[in-house]
């Protein structure tokens, strides 16, 4: 498995504010493919991305990215390493005081000494890839949510990274926006040879584009494999999640006392 996994998580344990978020998570994320990490809300999917990116440090276990153990890198090395990663945040997170053009140019201005005309060409190429070359002079406040994300995507590929992480890219998108994003994720992955990690709880869209998926719940990986393998997964929890059954291993009713007590039904048991 070694070389073909770009990211390798082994027995990762992580807690925050007393809550154990990951209780021994192990996963292999293959190189050059789109991997979806799915799970119910609050299962720590975004936290996983932060662990991979080195913004958080795990309590125990190892997080290896391209052969390097992220938690052991020193601050300067980590910052250098991050130039190979792109991350698309849920809200786009564009810098509100810079124009679209300046936002996409930002990583290049900071990390490279490229001359202005080269930056100009690269920015326009990246914007073209996401279909927003004509919007380059606008400010983020003038863009719609979907356009915001596309510009953020252009920004995250500005330095031609090896890895790109998407945090809930489909959340709150209308069908057209969804279609646009799906196309972009797929095209970028194949044309740039990226390793894409996609975190979402939108099962349908995620499974339609990913090559490999992991489902995380209760701090552990409850199922992993290709979309076809997951459809036939024996675990009830996995099936409930994938098919959206309202009741199953994750119960519908919040734990409470017997109905007869609450409703004051008299007499004996039926």
């Amino acid at each position: 498995m070694g070389l073909s996994s770009y990211i390798s998580l082994k027995d990762v344990v992580f807690s925050r504010s007393g809550r154990r978020i990951f209780n021994g998570v192990s996963a292999e994320i293959p190189r050059g493919k789109i991997t979806a990490i799915m799970g119910p809300s609050g299962s720590g999917k975004t936290t996983l991305l932060r662990l991979i990116g080195g913004q958080l440090r795990q309590d125990s276990g190892s997080v290896m990215v391209d052969g390097h153990s992220i938690s052991e890198l020193r601050r300067k090395e980590l910052y250098k390493f991050r130039e190979k990663m792109g991350m698309l945040f849920q809200s786009g997170a564009l810098f509100t005081d810079l124009s679209v053009y300046e936002n996409v140019a930002f990583p290049m201005r900071v990390h490279t000494k490229l001359p202005e005309d080269m930056i100009h060409d690269i920015v326009l190429m990246k914007l073209e890839a996401v279909g927003l070359r004509g919007a380059r002079k606008l400010m983020p406040s003038e863009l719609s949510g979907g356009m915001n994300r596309r510009v953020a995507l252009a920004r995250s590929i500005a330095l031609d990274p090896e890895l790109i992480m998407y945090d809930e890219p489909f959340a709150g998108q209308d069908p057209i926006g969804m279609g646009v994003l799906v196309k972009l994720i797929r095209d970028l992955n194949s044309s740039m040879g990226l390793t894409s990690v996609l975190v979402s709880h939108d099962v349908k869209e995620s499974l339609s584009i990913c090559h490999y998926a992991c489902i995380i719940a209760d701090g552990k990986v409850i199922g992993a494999g290709t979309p076809a393998e997951l459809q036939d997964h024996p675990s009830e929890q996995v099936q409930q999640f994938l098919n959206g059954h309202p009741d199953g291993p994750v119960p519908f009713h919040y734990p409470s006392s017997a109905a007869s007590e609450d409703f004051g039904l008299s007499g004996g048991v039926s």
Binding site: S91, T96, R109
Partner: protein
């Protein structure tokens, strides 16, 4: 009862922990000299928003405070027949105390809260996170220029405040109440010493600028990234800065002007 004591102790421990975090934060911000090519324009932009935009409130406040000092001072001094001393009264009060302190309080309210809100909002919309993920240290790119801008702008604002106040006092004292202009300036010049009074006042405002800027920037960086969190952080900036300024003022005054 035990719970009360325990929670009291916990708040004390929290305070110390938060001071420690603030200290580590400051070390992260100050370490590393920024590249002049990128650092300088960022600093200029911040100086503009923190310094130049605060001028309006500083000048107006300075003017009114100077005029009030003139009015009140005249009333009190005329009981002793010493109206001519009004110049030195206004000048000493402004240059030694009111200039640095009131400017710092106004600064904390206007520029400090704006800084906190801005940084807090950047945190809440994940702009700081995305900067980190792009390999850019937000402490150096976003926080440091704002800290230095506050540090530099404050003494400038305090000096302008004092100048405008003294001029305002002259307007009231000389033009309106009839104090002889020569004695206004003459008495002032005789009793205000540049090194002991003006320079000490400037030193005070440098210290206040540093503290106010540090508190403002830290509260923004450390806030809970929700709208409630940002508003609470903004309030904390204003309250903590004001308390710190008043407390430090006492200490500095005792050191500088106390005759031990």
């Amino acid at each position: 009862m035990i719970d009360r004591i325990a929670s009291f102790g916990r708040s004390g421990a929290d305070l110390i922990i938060s001071l420690g975090r603030a200290g580590r934060f400051l070390a992260g911000v100050l370490s590393g000299v920024p590249r002049p090519a990128t650092g300088f324009p960022l600093l200029m932009k911040q100086l503009y928003s923190v310094g130049v935009l605060s001028l309006a409130i500083i000048v107006v406040s300075g003017l009114f405070i100077g005029m009030v000092l003139g009015l009140q001072g005249y009333t009190i001094l005329s009981d002793f027949g010493s109206e001519a001393a009004i110049g030195q009264m206004i000048a000493l009060t402004l240059v030694r105390e009111l200039g640095p302190v009131v400017t710092a309080l106004l600064f904390a309210g206007r520029a400090g809260s704006a800084l906190t809100a801005e940084i807090g909002l950047m945190k809440a919309t994940e702009q700081l996170s995305s900067m980190e993920m792009m390999g850019v240290d937000p402490l150096r790119r976003v926080i440091a220029p704002r800290l230095w801008a506050g540090f530099i702008a404050m003494p400038v604002l305090a000096i302008i405040f004092s100048m405008v106040g003294i001029w305002g006092g002259m307007l009231v004292g000389v033009e309106w109440l009839g104090v002889f202009e020569g004695s206004y300036w003459g008495n002032m010049q005789a009793s205000v010493d540049f090194w002991d009074d003006v320079v000490n006042g400037v030193i005070k405002s440098v210290v206040f600028g540093f503290v106010c800027a540090w508190i403002a920037v830290y509260q923004g960086y450390d806030c809970v990234p929700t709208s409630a969190g940002i508003s609470s952080a903004t309030t904390k900036t204003v309250v903590y800065s004001s308390l710190a300024v008043l407390g430090l003022d006492f200490v500095l005054t005792a050191v500088m002007f106390g005759n031990f």
